[in-house]
Amino acid sequence: MAFLHRHPRLRLAALLSAPMLWLGLAYLGALAVLLVSAFWTVNGFTGEVVREFTLANFRTIVTEEVYRNVTLRSLGVAVAVTVICVVLALPMAFYMAKVARPRARHWLVIAILTPLWASYLVKAYAWRVLLANDGPIDSLFGGPGYGLFATIIVLSYLWLPYMILPIYAGLERLPDSLLEASADLGARAGRTFRGVVLPILVPSIFAGSIFTFSLSLGDYITVQIVGGKTQLLGNLVYANVGAANNLPFAAAIATIPVIIMVVYLAAVRRSGALEEL
């Protein structure tokens, strides 16, 4: 103990070794192998993985229309979900941070946080019941039933708190005096919102969108529960790991959301969104 006390570098190494072996070596290693295996193929007769470098998987993905359509559909879903979440989260977070009284504010934060911990599956299941034929929504509005639209609604529902929380945190840091200054200079609420609030919230919105985007891109469970016949990237990956037993091709498809996320992270990085996570 005393020896460690005199050697801070050793102490640091002792603290970091186990976690880094786990996350740095095992987890990152597994990700790296996954990436590499995307360039392998599966022998059609034996089902064995052939460990030779080839671009065949990616060629199939780029040339076959199915994969292009599914990629575009998944991207579209991720964008729609993100937009819906921003539109809902902005007024809610603003009310929580700037309009509600401090005591109510505390309870509202808890009210937003609590369903975050309710099981993801249970929430998707709840919507399956809500959207069922002759279920509450169907008997009220006569639709929309299971499908792409239902998938977008349910994914927005699932990830909404992930958007509200960073925006709320951003608004809490925004001093009221700035808003008052803007009002004193003659700006109305709408102008203040566009000119002062929104620019300051950009990193928070991006931070929230990292979650809504990434979670939507990788999802395949919700799609199975409320999506009807809709296929997203996650379903293709799942089908190739399971039924088709083609891990290299699954890995190749899985690189699509990873590449999209890396590009997205790099794009929003400069706004300071990563510090808001």
Partner: protein, 271 residues
């Protein structure tokens, strides 16, 4: 901000609608667990508690619950140790690559679950399975621990930032050994943060399905997997619904406890 009465009211209405949007589906599950109709005809005509009895006597659901508890406890234990170590390293030391380390902690939860799932699955199959350790409950625990570290890390890091090092320095100046300082100063300051982080890690593991699907060995069924497997069987619907209702009620507990233990920022660490 000086808002007109009209905008105040419209914000209030949006907030109320938003909360309705969040809570109505959950309430529906709770109500339906008492719905006498097997297919959940809406609105419900008669109420019954027989689905609750059926769920209680359902062996599959009970086994799955027990598996989930074991997986959650295992993953939480590992996450507590690893998360605390990294939090200390990042908060108390300056070193090359410190930002990368915090990014690495967030990565398992920031990447799509299916990517983490198949990465761990193929690594297990090609590296650990040849050593004679097939997939089972242990591989589930390993998978869950990987993404649970972040909740403990966030809670401990926030606590370390707030508490500073002056108390520990004072303790050392007064002649306490490093062991005594840890036992009497460091650990008591961290206790509630550890508890909050641990609770949230447990909740995260308890609810996980995607990584579990890929890391579970044959015959290992956690509660979410059990629900998913029974979701599309119409005659199981009432029992599934009761299990879902139980999970909703249970999910309130960790948040409530974590809030009381570590202040309002605790629950946010899931993001």
């Amino acid at each position: 901000m000086t808002l007109s009465a009209w905008s105040r009211w419209s914000l209030r209405v949006v907030m109320a609608l938003g909360l309705l949007f969040i809570y109505v589906p959950l309430l529906l599950v709770l109500v339906n667990s008492f719905n006498g109709d097997r297919t959940f005809g809406w609105p419900p005509h008669d109420f019954t508690t027989r689905w609750w009895t059926a769920a209680w006597n359902n062996g599959g659901a009970r086994d799955a619950l027990w598996t989930s508890v074991k997986a959650g406890l295992g993953a939480t234990a590992i996450a507590l140790v690893l998360g605390t170590m990294v939090a200390f390293a990042v908060q108390r030391f300056k070193f090359f690559g410190r930002d990368t380390v915090s990014l690495l902690i967030v990565l398992p939860i920031a990447l799509p679950g299916i990517v983490t799932g198949i990465a761990l699955d193929s690594a297990w199959r090609s590296v650990i399975a040849p050593l004679g350790l097939g997939k089972g409950l242990f591989s589930v625990i390993v998978g869950h621990a990987t993404f649970c570290v972040v909740t403990v890390y966030n809670n401990v890091l926030a606590r370390l930032r707030r508490s500073g090092v002056s108390l520990e320095e004072a303790s050392a100046d007064l002649g306490a050994s490093p062991g005594q300082t840890f036992r009497y100063i460091t650990f008591p300051t961290l206790r509630s943060a550890l508890l909050a982080g641990g609770l949230l890690a447990f909740a995260l593991s308890f609810d996980e399905i995607i990584v579990t699907t890929f890391t579970a060995g044959p015959g290992i069924q956690t509660l979410p997997i059990w629900i998913f497997n029974n979701l599309f069987r119409p005659n199981q619907a009432p029992v599934v619904n009761v299990v879902a209702a139980v999970l909703i009620v249970l999910s309130v507990l960790p948040v409530w406890l974590a809030q009381r233990l570590a202040g309002p920022e605790a629950g946010a660490s899931r993001t």
